[in-house]
Amino acid sequence: MATFNLSINGKSHAVEADADTPLLWALRDHLEMVGTKFGCGIGQCGACTIHIDGNATRSCLLPISSLEGKEITTIEGLSTDGSHPVQQAWKEVDVPQCGYCQAGQIMTASAFLETNPKPTEEEIKVAMNGNICRCSAYNRIQKAVAIASEKIG
């Protein structure tokens, strides 16, 4: 075991864990941040999406040893009170069904809108295609991303 210094949501955290521990499990088991979810562990579902230096990244395949010096943002750090435009849009549209995939969806959407604040419907679909919603709330996810884009613009 070794100690890794991770910068998460603007704060520095020391994590004592094996070097190959994925960020997902460091967050959930070591740092008590359980907003980031486990869905598949193989980078296929997007439930574990977080931001690394602003880019949407899967945390289930990301060893903590690779993250020193990088800025990590999780759903808990997107805003402290749910006021981020994407979170606002999610509430407005009432997106969640079971809700389990939604942190990942929100993290993918928020990073995407940073790079493309005025996406077309087609661009939204492509950007969100990596995030599975088993409850199939896709119609509303798409709508919420569009509304968030208006809020940002």
């Binding site: 562990g41 997107l78 749910g82 079971c98 809700g99 679909k125 295609n129």
Partner: protein, 738 residues
């Protein structure tokens, strides 16, 4: 359509009240039974005894209403819509109502089952009656204070007004109200007077969900808790012979390696043991670790030797055997009208088709997991489960502990789809904690979840119809299914009652693959088979498929058959609405539309799927849905359910594929197992038939017709009929165009 009448439903002794030590009034109630005479109402809000009451309502001195319900949420919105029923009759503003998941920190509670589609139907009367009774107690207290007749007082938005125009807030009278006798059989509102029911209410957990706060079973944690990863037999039919944990124990964070299964085997002796028992009764190797990651790594490092207990099964054989069942004579008849044999013998023409479907895993987004803490005094279980009472009972037998020692606390669930009706994973963790005597959480990896689960059984239908003088004279449906058959009223669904000679026969193939309920059991596939068949019949008869159904429905009107629960009038209603809204009568160039109507789970639905050809492949663009679910309690939540059911139905019909080779599932994660994604999800347009009938469920009924509508639309687009799920392997166009 008839108005629903005001309730005359007697609810003697279902509710009790107390005055809280900290101020405010507390009401405890039972949904389906009277309260136990001895049930004591707590006066401390931290001591809600869900063993005695289903739920509590607290009315605080500031007028805020909190509803404490241990009813879990699996994504069907019942945690929002059910409290709306209480608030409606309580006459409070929805914004002053807070809903809290009860059940935590309590000794034990029972009788909580989250069967989404049913919840609203059963809660409809009881929850409104509860709200109305509480309101009446508050009104009575105010009237007593004013020394006037309660009949002269009205209550609105949490404020009571008397004839002289004086007002008192609910909070002002809670103290006295709590001490009053509980009035009975309070009259309920007419639907036209509803102010909360029928309005949009956002999911009550929305803030927590969008900010990532702990809610789900996977998020649950206690001090001193360890993590467990379970190595289960890789193939159905295998049992553990030996294992070597040397490498696993070398992994940092691995604390112990144990085996479980022995205790569950005792339960196998019971008559007809449940699947959950069967699933947890084989010997398994469990890695206990200080983190999830270490537990998962430890499990991968175990070297286990498995031997064969019962023959290893192959889906190829399942397919052959199911087909030979259909060819054979070993059927049980579920419904028989007239004489199908005679109808077939006298027919001008016979149409007969066979429809096939694979096994399907549930794939809840949150993998199975559960927490247990077993010690000398107590067995505490926490996690996502739809059947806590059954779980408590089986753990009581499993660990040979008194039922009173066992508590089950429910968390929010990351999807259910039927999987969380089975408590095998929770029983496992109970046994683990019993061995290690520590609080422990078992977490399944996606691979564990997908390969050692419970599955929608593989099923085949053969449908045969006779035609004489341009009419359908006989109809026979045969079902061959793995482990069990259609049940309840399903054999009496449409077109039962519409065809003179009608028969439903079933046969079952025994398998050691664990199978069970999967969102809309049986109808999830039956709908596609029957509705595709009806479409084909219409083609043979050269009739319009919509008109053909409407004509058949005419024959059901006025039926005296008690088993026919679908309403021909309500089906007509959704059919006409879907046809109108989808533009079915005015087809657009290049858009192929498939129509389907279906009744299940007490709800009537019609759907039209729009398919276009892109790169010589059919693509589902839109589904228009018309739903008659009676009064729509929360349209915002209802539409979410409907959209989800449709897209899920399209997804599994198009892509869902799962089979077994030598007892082992052929895929184990989302890489190989294709779930529908944003890009493939059609737009769903929802329309309700408006009426004042009691609400029916929405968690399931829109799923079954979706696959049917899509298959019919694809048939129009490609010229080929589809007889097998998943469609993706069976939808090549007749001629390659271009």
């Amino acid at each position: 359509m008839s108005k629903q009448k005001t309730s005359n439903f007697s609810r003697r002794g279902f509710l009790k009240a107390s005055s809280l030590a900290s101020g405010g009034m507390l009401i405890g109630f039972n949904l389906f039974t009277a309260c136990k005479p001895k049930a004591e109402m707590p006066i401390d809000i931290s001591k809600l005894n869900f063993a005695d009451f289903n739920a509590f309502i607290k009315i605080a001195e500031n007028g805020m209403v909190t509803i404490f319900s241990p009813n879990p949420e699996i994504g069907q919105g019942v945690k929002t819509s059910m409290p709306m029923l209480i608030a409606e009759e309580l006459n409070v503003e929805w914004k002053n109502v807070v809903v809290e998941q009860g059940g935590l920190d309590t000794e034990n509670y029972t009788r909580q089952v989250a069967g989404g589609s049913q919840s609203i139907r059963f809660g409809w009367e009881a929850l409104r009656q509860t709200g109305a009774t509480a309101r009446q107690m508050l009104v009575n207290a105010a009237a007593a204070r004013w020394n006037v007749d309660a009949k002269e007082c009205t209550a609105k938005d949490g404020v009571i007004t008397n004839a002289a125009g004086e007002t008192l807030g609910y909070g002002d009278v809670v103290k006295e109200a709590a001490l009053l006798e509980v009035p009975e059989n309070i009259e309920l509102k007419e639907p036209k007077d509803f102010t909360i029911i029928g309005t949009d209410a956002t999911n009550v957990d929305i803030d927590k969900i969008v900010t990532g706060q702990p809610l789900f079973g996977l998020d649950y944690k206690e001090d001193g808790m360890v993590y467990a990863s379970v190595l289960r037999p890789p193939a159905f039919g295998q049992i553990l012979e030996s294992f070597d944990a040397t490498e696993a124990k070398k992994i940092q964070g691995v604390l112990d390696v144990i085996t479980i299964g022995e205790k569950a085997r005792k339960l196998l002796n019971s008559e007809d043991p449940a699947w959950s028992v069967k699933l947890c009764s084989s010997d398994k190797v469990v890695v206990i670790a200080s983190s999830t990651w270490a537990a998962m790594k430890g499990k991968k490092a175990i070297k286990a030797v498995w031997k064969i207990d019962t023959p290893l099964e192959n889906s190829e054989n399942h397919n052959k055997e199911l087909l030979s069942l259909l060819d054979g004579k070993k059927f049980k008849t579920m419904r028989s009208d007239g004489d199908v044999k005679k109808a077939f013998a006298q027919a001008d023409k016979i149409v007969e088709k066979t429809y096939e479907s694979p096994f399907l895993p549930h794939n809840c987004m949150e993998p199975m997991n559960f927490f247990a803490s077993v010690n000398e005094d107590k067995v505490r279980l926490v996690g996502p489960i739809q059947t806590p009472e059954a779980l408590a009972t089986s753990v009581s037998t499993l660990l040979d502990r008194k039922l009173e020692d066992i508590s089950v606390e429910m968390t929010r669930m990351g999807g259910g789809f039927g999987r969380r009706l089975y408590g095998d994973f929770a029983m496992e963790v109970a046994e683990i904690s019993d061995v290690i005597r520590k609080p422990v959480k078992m977490i399944s990896s996606r691979e564990d979840d997908m390969t050692t689960g419970v599955y929608r059984p593989a099923i085949k239908y053969r449908i045969k119809a006779s035609i004489k003088n341009g009419e359908i004279t006989g109809y026979q449906l045969k079902e061959a299914a793995v482990n069990g058959n259609m049940y309840g009223l399903i054999p009496n669904f449409f077109p039962a009652g519409a065809i003179e000679n009608y028969q439903v026969d079933v046969a079952s193939l025994k398998s050691n693959i664990t199978t069970g309920a999967w969102r809309a059991p049986y109808t999830n596939f039956l709908s596609y088979a029957e509705q595709s068949f009806l479409d084909e019949l219409a083609e043979v008869l050269e009739k319009d498929p919509v008109q053909m159904r409407l004509d058949l429905l005419q024959k059901v009107k006025g039926t005296k058959d008690e088993k026919i629960k679908y309403s021909p009038e309500r089906l007509e209603g959704v059919i006409n609405l879907a046809v109108e809204k989808s533009g079915y009568r005015t087809p657009k160039e290049g858009v192929y539309q498939g129509f389907c109507s279906y009744y299940c789970h007490n709800t009537h639905v019609a759907e039209v799927a729009d398919v276009v050809m892109e790169n010589n492949q059919p693509v589902v663009k839109r589904v228009t849905v018309a739903v008659d679910c009676g009064i729509v309690v929360n349209p915002l939540g209802a539409i979410n359910q409907i959209e989800g059911g449709v897209v899920d139905g399209v997804g599994h019909a198009m892509y869902g594929d799962f089979s077994f080779k030598e007892g082992e599932p052929d895929r184990n994660n989302y890489g190989a197992y294709r779930l529908i994604r944003m890009n493939e999800a059609p737009k769903v347009d929802t329309y309700f038939v408006k009426n004042d009938l009691s609400p029916t469920g929405l968690g399931e009924p829109t799923l079954p017709p979706a696959g049917a509508a899509v298959s019919i639309a694809i048939t129009k687009a490609t010229g080929n009929r589809i007889y097998k799920q998943p469609f993706i392997d069976n939808m090549a166009p007749k001629e390659i165009i271009g």
